[in-house]
């Protein structure tokens, strides 16, 4: 087991390195750098001005050297301009010679400087990640129990009306991407002119003008049911159908097992069979699915944060990518790669622990 985890961690590290290098390479292609120079400097820069801007900031060094500098295994660049200013990757102009660091990269804990937000990347990513963590936590709290309930209810009597209705419902949710359900929810529940809100306001059932708020910006400081439920529901719904279907499949399989038939023949009550005999074995497969669904939620988070204007990690990704903010984008991709690979690892280990029939060799 220990060896297995070690090997998986090694593969994880290798994957993360490869991925960050790909992101690094794509963001450092010359047209992207030119766009960066023009957005940072001004849009009417001549070609020479662009070249000198990039040259001075170390962007035109060979790719492996730049990547090494970002990692912190190659000394950072130092530029001495014609008017005697000396600045580098690791220090600003005017730093005394003794205080100048040679290495500053990820290994030294320095994630670089965001060109869009004019801030250090590390704290920026952490603040945004905390906001998205809040969203994800709410999503999981809503999504997992409801998906499991739907799946178990559908799977306990295969072919019944309950099964067919709930299965149709789960298929419908997997066919509704976040940008479709979000748009529909906002139009139906959060518009002051259309859908339910005007009706409910007229009847005096709700205090405000709308049932829910169509923008989650205020939820960043103070999340309430009113401003936070729609984004959470939108993400949960898309992921829920898949988990519910997996739970249903696993539940129907367990319900046809020999030991359930034995229990039935012994005369155990149906509710006891479902809750005490079937449920534990039926929940092994959904656990894996839930863990593997978390990276998927990341996509949903990007869409929903854009749609509801919630400035979290997904919003950060869009801002960084749209503006070719290289170091921010690298940090964002490192975080998402870790999330993806870590959940895979947890699902593998958890599967082994939950299912004693599987042994890692």
């Amino acid at each position: 087991m220990g060896l297995f985890i070690l090997r998986r961690l090694g593969v994880m590290l290798l994957t993360a390195l490869c991925l960050t290098f790909i992101v690094f390479w794509l963001t450092n292609l010359y047209p992207n750098l030119e766009k960066l120079a023009k957005t940072q400097g001004n849009f009417r820069m001549s070609d020479e001005a662009v070249t000198s801007y990039l040259e001075n900031r170390g962007y035109l060094q060979p790719m492996p050297v730049k990547f090494g500098q970002w990692l912190g295994v190659v000394p950072g660049w130092v530029t001495e301009t014609a008017d005697g200013k000396v600045f580098g990757r690791c220090f600003i102009d005017g730093t005394p010679e003794a205080d100048r660091d040679q290495f500053c990269g990820v290994l030294q804990g320095d994630w670089g400087f965001s060109t869009v937000f004019k801030e250090d990347v590390g704290p920026t990513v952490l603040t945004r990640l905390a906001l998205t963590g809040k969203l994800m936590l709410c999503v999981l709290l809503l999504m997992v129990p409801s998906a499991l309930i739907v799946g178990v209810l559908a799977g306990m009597r295969e072919g019944s009306r309950m099964d067919r209705s709930l299965s149709t419902f789960s298929i419908a949710t997997t066919a509704t991407p976040e940008y479709v359900s979000g748009v529909i929810f906002i139009a139906v529940l959060a518009s002051s002119r259309f859908g339910l809100s005007p009706l409910l306001a007229e009847w005096g059932w709700i205090d405000g003008r709308t049932l829910f708020l169509g923008s989650a910006t205020s939820a960043m400081e103070d999340a309430t049911f009113w401003n936070f439920f729609l984004p959470v529901l939108t993400i949960s719904l898309y992921g829920m159908g898949y988990i519910a279907r997996m739970t249903r499949a696993s539940m129907t399989e367990v319900m046809t097992a020999q030991y359930i038939r034995t229990a039935r023949l012994k005369g155990v009550k149906f509710s006891n069979i479902v809750l005490k005999h079937a449920l534990r074995n039926a929940l092994i497969a959904p656990f894996t699915v839930i863990m593997l669904q978390i990276p998927w939620l990341l996509n949903g988070v990007v869409i929903v944060e854009t749609l509801f204007n919630y400035k979290g990690f997904g919003w950060l990704l869009v801002q960084a990518a749209a503006n070719n903010d290289i170091e921010l984008l690298l940090a964002v991709s490192v975080v998402s790669v870790i999330v993806v690979l870590f959940t895979q690892l947890v699902s593998d280990i958890g599967y082994v622990i939950l299912n004693p029939r599987i042994r890692i060799t």
């Binding site: 992207n32 940008y179 169509g214 046809t256 009550k269 509710s271 990704l317 869009v318 990518a321």
Partner: protein
């Protein structure tokens, strides 16, 4: 011309429809609640399957529900027929039903032919034994016919998808044109968007974009996945480790980040999408070549002309696909010459090409994993051992023994994956990546409409519902296919 309502002259039927829907929902809910309480006299057969569905209160609820369901269907049919006969006099639905007449005819012909000959049509025919599969197939074919008739033949549309009509900005569905000229359709059936264009027309034109790109991209992804997944699963070893690592690498990327990195004008300038197109689109050629060669290599007199013919045509298509204006890659600093423009069959817009390539690139690793898993399972079967004993080559075994036996799950996944590709295309449009901003595809339209969502939701709701119904149709179709293919 006055403002159209949703159902116009057929409004008298609305309370009936509402009542039937309410009765249906209540009856089905009632049946579900009752089924939670165990009935004392109920007998169950086998492993929990309900054999007593038509007994007692539960059965009563079920019967009421299914009658209400039939009533709903009949009433929808009445709306449709009335719409086709009356046209806009039967409201917006009537106007749309009349506009879509060619689609209804094509659907009826398809269904009539398929149901008549369903016993001779293999898996496709069996689809018509399952209600879910038929509903899914109808939804999918509705959009396919809509896309083809509207996109290629310009039949269903009421206006031009790009022209702006004065005074129609953000107008509600059913608004008449302020100054309709002769021969011009006098209403905006689904209203106008924020640039005063007809939402209905753009919906239909958008269907064509989706119906063109999504199945093709999925097909290419399958070619890549099959061509790499078969040897990875069959040979195993270092090849498998390497290819699986690459697949996991791509799958570890958040899709949206990948799109943002690949689908920007700056990346298009560098020519990377062209290189990826050259690489990814060669796989169907390899697949075809190996497929035919492994089968016919013992008969050179048949094999050689066949290969020359097939690979010649496929190669021509391939070169036409990857070369634009006589160049494979046309970066500012250099240029790789390709097929001369004179013999180039078609040119693909660079925006569309990059979208196409990235969607294939995202989908291929998942297909690879599925094919690899299936191969690992099937290669232990007896018929594979028999073929090995016979002395068949590895590629013959992979393509003519393993692949046909893996077709069931692959066909099901193909349907699901077209739906997923549609969602991905919508995601690209939603972030304004790739396709031009005036493109009528659904994702871009949703993106344009969401800014004014709480004031004028119709411009975003219409494409959202269209996308939802197409993907739902594909999922139901896949479900029906899975059910029927398991029944063998």
């Amino acid at each position: 011309m006055e403002q159209l309502t949703w159902t116009g002259g057929m409004g008298w039927l609305n309370p009936g429809l509402g009542l039937a829907v309410a009765v249906m929902i209540l009856a089905y809910l009632g049946q579900m609640v009752v089924s939670l309480v165990p009935a004392t006299g109920a007998r169950t057969i086998g492993s929990g399957a309900v054999a007593t569905a038509d007994q007692g209160i539960s059965g009563l609820f079920g019967r009421v529900g299914s009658w209400a369901f039939r009533a709903v269907l009949v009433m929808i049919l009445i709306y449709l027929v009335a719409g086709i006969v009356l046209g806009p006099a039967a409201g917006i639905f009537g106007g749309m039903a009349r506009q879509l007449l060619p689609v209804w005819i094509a659907l009826i012909v398809t269904f009539a032919l398929s149901i008549t000959y369903k016993r001779r049509l293999g898996l496709y025919g069996k689809l018509f034994d399952s209600t879910v599969g038929m509903i899914g197939f109808a939804l999918v074919m509705f959009w396919v016919y809509t896309g083809v008739f509207g996109g290629v033949f310009d039949l269903l549309v009421t206006h031009d998808s790009l022209s702006q009509v004065s005074g129609m900005k953000n107008k509600l569905p059913g608004t008449p044109l302020a100054r309709a000229e002769d021969g011009e359709y006098p209403w905006f059936l689904l209203g106008g968007d924020n640039l005063a264009r007809d939402v209905f027309t753009r919906l239909i034109k958008g269907a064509w974009v989706v119906v063109q790109i999504a199945p093709m991209a999925t097909l290419f992804a399958f070619m890549v996945g099959i061509t790499l997944g078969l040897p990875a699963g069959y040979y195993g070893g270092k090849l498998d480790v390497f290819l699986s690592f690459l697949a996991n690498l791509i799958l570890a990327f958040p899709v949206i980040l990948l799109f943002y990195l690949l689908v920007t004008p700056e990346i298009v300038l560098t020519g990377i999408p062209n290189y990826m197109a050259i690489f990814l689109f060669i796989f169907p050629l390899i697949f075809l070549g190996v497929l035919l060669n492994s089968r016919f290599y013992t008969q050179p007199s048949l094999r050689t002309p066949l290969l020359i013919g097939v690979l010649g045509i496929a190669g021509w298509l391939y070169l036409s696909l990857v070369s634009t204006n006589g160049a494979l890659v046309d970066a500012p600093t250099y240029r790789l010459p390709g097929l001369p423009a004179a013999v180039d069959l078609f040119d693909i817009d660079p925006g569309v090409l990059v979208v196409f390539v990235s969607v294939v690139f995202v989908n291929a690793p998942t297909v690879f994993r599925i094919v690899r898993g299936l191969t690992l399972d099937i290669k232990t079967r007896d018929y594979v051992a028999a073929a090995q004993t016979r002395g068949e080559g590895p590629w013959y075994i992979m393509l003519w023994e393993i692949l046909p036996n893996a077709r069931g799950p692959l066909i099901v996944d193909f349907c699901l994956r077209i739906g997923y590709t549609t969602i991905l295309l919508g995601t690209l449009g939603f972030f304004g990546l790739g396709l031009a901003s005036e493109s009528p595809d659904w994702g871009t339209t949703i993106n344009a409409g969401r800014r004014l969502l709480s004031l004028y939701p119709h411009a975003a709701i219409a494409p959202a519902l269209a996308l939802l119904s197409l993907v739902l149709g594909l999922n139901l179709l896949a479900d029906g296919l899975r059910e029927e293919s398991l029944r063998d």
